[in-house]
C-alpha cells in the first residue's frame, strides 16, 4: 500500500501504468523454476561439497550438458504452446548427429550442419502434416515417428559410432569457446534468445499461443490454425536436430542413441519452466532455466555415486514431483 502510494506520487503516469501492468503480469509460476534452480544448487553445494560439485570444471560441465537439453526444450515449448507435443525429439537428435557426422566427413562443416537441420525440419513437416491433415493426435504421430526415426538411425551405421574429424565442426559445436564462454553456452543463448523473440515479438508466436489456447476461436478470427500447428512441430524437430548437432560436436561422433533418452528430461524442463502442457502458455526463458535444473539434477545424481539403475528411479521420481508442483501452480494461477 505504502509502496503504491509512493509510486503514485513519484512516478510519471506512464511508468505507473507500467508498474501496474507488470504487477498484474507477474504470476508465481514464472518464478518457480528459478527458485527450484537456486534451491537444488544450494542443496548440492552443501551435500556434495566433498564430491566436487562446486568445482569450476564441474559447473562448466553442467552448463555444457544443459545445452542440448535447452535447445530441445526451446523447440518443445512451441509444440506444447500450440497444444501439440513432439515425442520424436530424442530420436531426431540421434539421427541428426549421424547425418551431421556422415555429411561433414564428405562435404564439410556447413553442408553437414545444413543437412542435419534439413533432416530434422523435414521430419517435423511430416509430423505436422499427418497430425493436421489426417487428424491424428500429435502424440501418436510423433510416437510412431520416434520408432521410425530410431530404426533409421540404427540402420544407418549398424549401431556403430561415426567419428567426426572435422576440426571446425568440433570447435564450433563443441570444444570451442567465445572468449571464456563455451560455444555450447553461446549456442544455448542464441537459440534461447531467438525463441524468446519469436514467442513475444513475432506475430507467429502470438498465433501459436492463440491456437494452443482455443483453436476454434483462433480459427474464427481467421488464423490458419493448420499452418501454425505444422510450423510449431517443424520448429520443435528442427531444434531437436540442432541439439543433435551440438551433441555430435561435443562428443565428436554421431551415434544412433545420442540424445535418445532426453525426451522426458526435455518435457520436464519445459513444464517446470512454466509452459502449460496443454497449450496456450509458454516461457522460453523458463524452458532454458528448467534445462539447467535438469542438467544439475543429472550431474548431482551421478556425483552422489548412484548406480545407473538408481539414477533412473531417482530422476523419474524427481521429474514427477517437480512437474506436479509446477502444474499445481499453473492451475491455481
Amino acid at each position: 500500500m505504502n509502496q503504491e502510494l509512493r509510486a503514485a506520487v513519484l512516478l510519471p503516469s506512464g511508468a505507473r501504468a507500467r508498474i501496474a501492468g507488470w504487477k498484474q503480469g507477474v504470476e508465481l509460476r514464472h518464478y518457480v523454476v528459478y527458485a527450484a534452480a537456486a534451491l537444488i544448487f544450494l542443496l548440492f553445494v552443501v551435500f556434495l561439497r566433498d564430491d566436487g560439485f562446486l568445482t569450476s570444471s564441474n559447473l562448466i560441465n553442467i552448463g555444457r550438458q544443459s545445452a542440448p537439453i535447452a535447445v530441445m526444450a526451446v523447440g518443445m515449448s512451441f509444440a506444447l504452446a500450440s497444444s501439440e507435443i513432439d515425442l520424436s525429439v530424442g530420436s531426431v537428435a540421434a539421427l541428426s548427429s549421424l547425418v551431421a557426422a556422415e555429411v561433414v566427413g564428405g562435404h564439410g562443416f556447413v553442408a553437414g550442419t545444413v543437412a542435419a537441420l534439413a533432416v530434422g525440419a523435414s521430419i517435423g513437416l511430416v509430423n505436422g502434416f499427418i497430425t493436421v491433415k489426417v487428424r491424428i493426435p500429435s502424440f501418436l504421430v510423433t510416437l510412431g515417428m520416434l520408432g521410425i526415426v530410431s530404426g533409421i538411425a540404427r540402420n544407418m551405421n549398424n549401431l556403430q559410432s561415426l567419428p567426426i574429424r572435422n576440426d571446425a565442426f568440433r570447435e564450433v559445436f563443441g570444444s570451442g569457446s567465445v572468449g571464456p564462454v563455451s560455444s555450447l553456452l553461446v549456442w544455448t543463448a542464441v537459440v534461447g534468445l531467438l525463441g524468446h523473440l519469436a514467442l513475444h515479438q513475432l506475430r507467429w508466436g502470438r498465433h501459436v499461443l492463440s491456437v494452443g489456447s482455443d483453436r476454434s476461436a483462433a480459427k474464427a478470427l481467421g488464423i490458419n490454425a493448420d499452418r501454425v500447428r505444422i510450423s510449431a512441430l517443424v520448429v520443435s524437430a528442427a531444434a531437436a536436430s540442432f541439439a543433435g548437432v551440438l551433441l555430435a560436436g561435443r562428443l565428436a561422433i554421431g551415434r544412433h542413441d545420442l540424445g535418445e533418452n532426453l525426451l522426458l528430461t526435455v518435457i520436464a524442463a519445459v513444464v517446470i519452466g512454466g509452459t502449460n502442457l496443454f497449450g496456450g502458455r509458454a516461457s522460453v526463458a523458463g524452458a532454458v532455466a528448467g534445462s539447467v535444473v535438469m542438467a544439475m539434477l543429472n550431474n548431482g545424481l551421478i556425483l552422489m555415486g548412484l548406480r545407473v539403475s538408481d539414477q533412473l528411479i531417482a530422476r523419474g521420481v524427481i521429474i514427477i514431483l517437480a512437474v506436479s508442483l509446477s502444474m499445481r501452480e499453473q492451475k491455481e494461477s
Binding site: A17, A20, G21, W22, Q24, G25, Q201, L202, R203, W204, R206, H207, L209, S210, S213, D214, S216, A217, A218, K219, A220, L221, G222, I223, N224, G280, R281
Partner: protein, 267 residues
C-alpha cells in the same frame, strides 16, 4: 492489415449491405438452415430471433465464414461472394462477435483486439517476419476503447484476468473497431449485468448511426424493441416471419418465435 481500425464508410443508409438467399446447411440428417434469405441494410439494426436450435448461430457462422453453406448465395454490396473462411469474411468488412466471444485467454487486451490484424514494424522485412509494432497497437487500442467508452483497468491484463463483462466488451470492441460494413452480434449481452447490457446497446446504436449494418441475435425482446429496426424470426431452420419492429408488439414477436403465429407464405 491495410485497413485502419476505424468505423469508416459504408453505403447509403437503407441500401443493402448483405443479401443472402436460399441458404441451406445440414449437419448429417439435421437441416439446420433450410432456404433462408434476408437482407441487412446500412444504418439499420436487424434482430435475428428464434428459439434455441432454430438455426440463428448457424446462420451467423455461415455468413462469417466459419461454416460453408451447402447451398445459397451471399452478396455483399450487390456482389456475390463465397465467404469460404473467417479471413474472407473479415476481408469483406464482416465482423462477428460469436456467442463464445472468441477471445484468447492468455493474451492481453491489446493482443486480443489486434489478433490476426497485427501491425508490424521494420518495413517489408518486418512485415514478412511479422515483427509486432506493440507501441502502435497499444496506442490504437487506447483510442478504440476510449472512443467506444469501454473501460478496462489495464490493457496488459490477460483476458482470463478480466470479468465476464470486460471480456465481452473486448470482443465487442474488436468487432466494432474492425467492422467497417457489417457487424454480426450473437447474444452480445447474454452474460451481462443491467448496466453493462445498456452499454452494449449504446455501442450498437453508435454503430447504426455511423452507417454500419448490424445483425443482433438476442432472446431479450426489450433489446429488440429498443434498438432494432427489423426482426427476422427463424423456426426449425426456416424463416417464419420478417417484420418491422415498430409495427408489432413484444407479444407478437414471442408468438412468432414459439410458432403460435407465422407469416411466411412458404409455410
Amino acid at each position: 492489415m491495410n485497413s485502419e481500425p476505424a468505423v469508416t464508410r459504408s453505403g447509403q443508409p437503407g441500401s443493402a449491405a448483405l443479401e443472402i438467399s436460399g441458404l441451406c446447411k445440414s449437419f448429417r440428417a439435421v437441416k439446420a438452415l433450410d432456404g433462408v434469405g434476408m437482407t441487412l441494410r446500412y444504418g439499420r439494426v436487424t434482430a435475428l430471433l428464434g428459439d434455441n436450435g432454430a438455426g440463428k448461430s448457424t446462420l451467423v457462422k455461415c455468413i462469417s465464414g466459419v461454416y460453408a453453406p451447402d447451398a445459397g448465395t451471399v452478396r455483399v454490396n450487390g456482389v456475390e461472394h463465397a465467404v469460404s473462411s473467417p479471413e474472407a469474411a473479415r476481408a469483406l468488412g464482416i465482423e462477428t462477435v460469436h456467442q463464445t466471444l472468441a477471445v484468447i485467454d492468455p493474451l492481453d487486451v491489446v493482443e486480443n483486439l489486434f489478433l490476426n490484424r497485427e501491425h508490424t514494424r521494420g518495413g517489408r522485412l518486418g512485415a514478412r517476419l511479422g515483427v509486432l509494432d506493440k507501441k502502435r497497437m497499444r496506442r490504437e487500442s487506447e483510442e478504440i476503447l476510449s472512443r467506444l467508452d469501454i473501460r478496462i483497468p489495464s490493457l496488459r491484463r490477460p483476458l482470463d484476468a478480466l470479468s465476464g463483462g470486460q471480456r465481452q466488451a473486448v470482443a465487442i470492441g474488436r468487432a466494432v473497431a474492425w467492422g467497417q460494413q457489417i457487424v454480426l452480434l450473437d447474444e452480445p449481452a447474454a452474460a451481462l449485468g443491467v448496466e453493462q447490457a445498456a452499454r452494449v446497446l449504446e455501442l450498437i446504436r453508435g454503430l447504426r448511426d455511423s452507417g454500419v449494418a448490424v445483425l443482433l441475435i438476442t432472446h431479450n425482446m426489450d433489446r429488440v424493441t429498443s434498438v432494432c429496426d427489423r426482426a427476422i424470426v427463424l423456426r426449425q431452420g426456416r424463416k417464419t416471419a420478417e417484420v418491422d419492429v415498430g409495427e408489432v408488439t413484444k407479444d407478437d414477436l414471442v408468438a412468432y418465435i414459439t410458432g403460435a403465429r407465422t407469416d411466411d407464405p412458404a409455410q
